[in-house]
């Protein structure tokens, strides 16, 4: 698995320009006080998406066929993508967090540090959930079809959300009121709930990707 990690890090090294542009855009947004949270979220989400680009690069020019002849198991490939995905997301989030603190210092914003960190953690968890949805789609559909597949997957997720909302409304459950209650809950409790959901989503996503890889022909 170490070989796969080195390969992806070497491939990501080629994305230097993209990473510099990300940092530049994040820096530009730091100039406005409303842009501080945005730049942190932007860096985290875009950084997390880099793992998807490594899957695209593996797939490019039938590269997966050759890659799968190297001495590792299919499960090593899947594990490596999830581990690296978490590592990159965490790194992008940390950079975003540091930048946001710099922005808050520059704009002299009074937000308590603990509160800012907790809301930032939520951004990281949502980024991880997004990546968990995208990895199996990218592995299943490959470079060319994945863009359409992602749109379809998100359309299905929104549809599921809509159906749940409609059924809940028919059963007399007020979802909006429930969400309002959430906002009154302690922020650390909310973060813990989202963390639990993220772990479950990551776990399910990993199992789905494993299944896809085991069935996939190269």
């Amino acid at each position: 698995m170490l070989g796969l990690l080195v390969k992806d890090l070497k491939l990501l090294k080629n994305q230097k320009m993209f990473i510099c542009i990300l940092l530049f855009i994040a820096g530009v947004f730091l100039k406005t006080d409303f842009g501080i949270s945005f730049s942190m979220g932007y860096l985290t989400f875009m950084g997390a998406m880099l793992i998807i680009s490594t899957i695209s690069m593996d797939d490019y020019n039938y590269g997966m066929s050759f890659l799968m002849t190297l001495p590792f198991k299919k499960e090593d490939y899947v594990k490596e993508k999830y581990i690296l995905g978490i590592m990159i997301s965490l790194l992008a989030w940390l950079v975003g967090l540091v930048l946001s603190f710099i922005g808050m210092y520059i704009h002299d914003m009074p937000t308590p540090i603990s509160e800012h960190i907790l809301s930032s953690v939520m951004v990281l968890l949502f980024a991880l959930m997004l990546v968990s949805i995208l990895i199996p789609v990218q592995v299943k559909f490959g470079q060319t079809k994945a863009n359409v597949a992602v749109i379809i997957v998100f359309a299905i997720l929104f549809l599921i959300g809509f159906i749940i909302y409609t059924i809940a409304s028919l059963l007399g459950v007020d979802i909006t009121a429930l969400l309002n209650q959430l906002s009154h809950m302690s922020q650390s409790y909310v973060v813990l709930c989202i963390l639990a959901i993220t772990i479950v989503v990551e776990g399910i996503s990993y199992l789905i990707t494993m299944k896809i890889m085991n069935k996939k022909e190269f």
């Binding site: 070989g3 390969k7 070497k10 690069m57 039938y62 590269g63 066929s65 590792f72 022909e217 190269f218």
Partner: protein, 284 residues
């Protein structure tokens, strides 16, 4: 070393069903027209596709049971793909070092330099010949016992092909127990390096023969319509209609040399044998 026993793979419009044995220290060639099943056979061996029947054994183990250590003893070249072309040779050596216990970074870099490959340039800037050489050097870089080479000389000029085959000859001379299975469209490449040849057509092995026998005992008889009628056909494998009469493939050249002084007998080569084996009809 490598044994395919009634391996079957079914697609909608194509079926592979073949058996092959590659023994220690031997170079075997697989030849066939486009779409004959060469790449499907290679993919099946490398477990890149599932098989619908039969067995594949590598190092006396089912190919699905190979450990990472077993896979370290296999070197692979695939025709249209390899490491990402966004990498350079230094990157690739760092990656190979993590994958293979027997990989010597220094030796690999030396080999690349000897072949005139730039170390710090991305592979996508390489010429076709440079890319092909790099693929072979990667496959040979970790003391392999089995080489699976799918069209390693594709797209190369005659000099580049010869240099590449020299690399393989050198490796085989230093590693006598290594075995190679290679495919090529260029039959002269296979004639010059392979100990035996498998010919595949429509997913089936239609001929398996030692290269020496193929070149010495096989022949093409060029006969007129009348000569064909009187020809003893017991040693004719296949025949093909021509403008002048018939081309007949035989495995018993000497029989016809001794008994038919008036017919044209051409020495065979892989191309001619393949042409008649695939396009020809069974002699009665």
């Amino acid at each position: 070393m490598l044994k395919l026993n009634n391996v079957q793979k079914d697609y909608d419009l194509f079926s592979l069903k073949c058996s092959m044995t590659i023994v220690n220290g031997q170079i075997s060639g697989l030849i066939g027209k486009n779409g004959a099943g060469k790449s499907t056979t290679f993919k099946a061996i490398l477990d890149l596709i599932s098989i619908d029947g039969g067995t594949i054994e590598i190092f006396d183990k089912d190919h699905k049971e190979l450990t990472n250590l077993d896979k370290q003893k296999i070197g692979v070249v695939l025709s249209h793909t390899g490491f990402s072309e966004y990498l350079n040779i230094i990157d690739i050596s760092a990656i190979l070092e993590k994958f293979y216990n027997d990989f010597s970074k220094e030796h690999f870099i030396n080999q690349c330099q000897q072949q005139g490959l730039p170390l710090n340039k991305k592979i996508n800037t390489f010429s076709t010949g440079m890319k092909a050489k790099l693929k072979i050097l990667i496959a040979l870089s970790h003391h392999v016992e089995l080489l699976i080479l799918d069209e390693p000389t594709a797209g190369l000029d005659v000099l580049a092909r010869d240099e590449l085959l020299d690399l393989l000859r050198d490796y085989m001379s230093q590693n006598e127990n290594c075995s190679i299975l290679m495919s090529s469209h260029i039959s002269s490449d296979l004639e010059s390096i392979c100990d035996d040849i498998y010919m595949i057509d429509q997913g089936k092995i239609v001929l398996h023969e030692d290269t020496d026998v193929l070149l010495s005992d096989y022949a093409i008889l060029k006969v007129s319509e009348e000569q064909y009628q009187t020809l003893d056909k017991k040693y004719i494998l296949k025949y093909m209609k021509e403008t002048y009469g018939y081309s007949c493939l035989t495995k018993e050249k000497q029989f016809y040399v001794d008994n038919y002084k008036d017919i044209v007998i051409e020495n065979s080569n892989i191309d001619k044998v393949m042409m008649i084996m695939i396009r020809g009809e069974q002699a009665c």
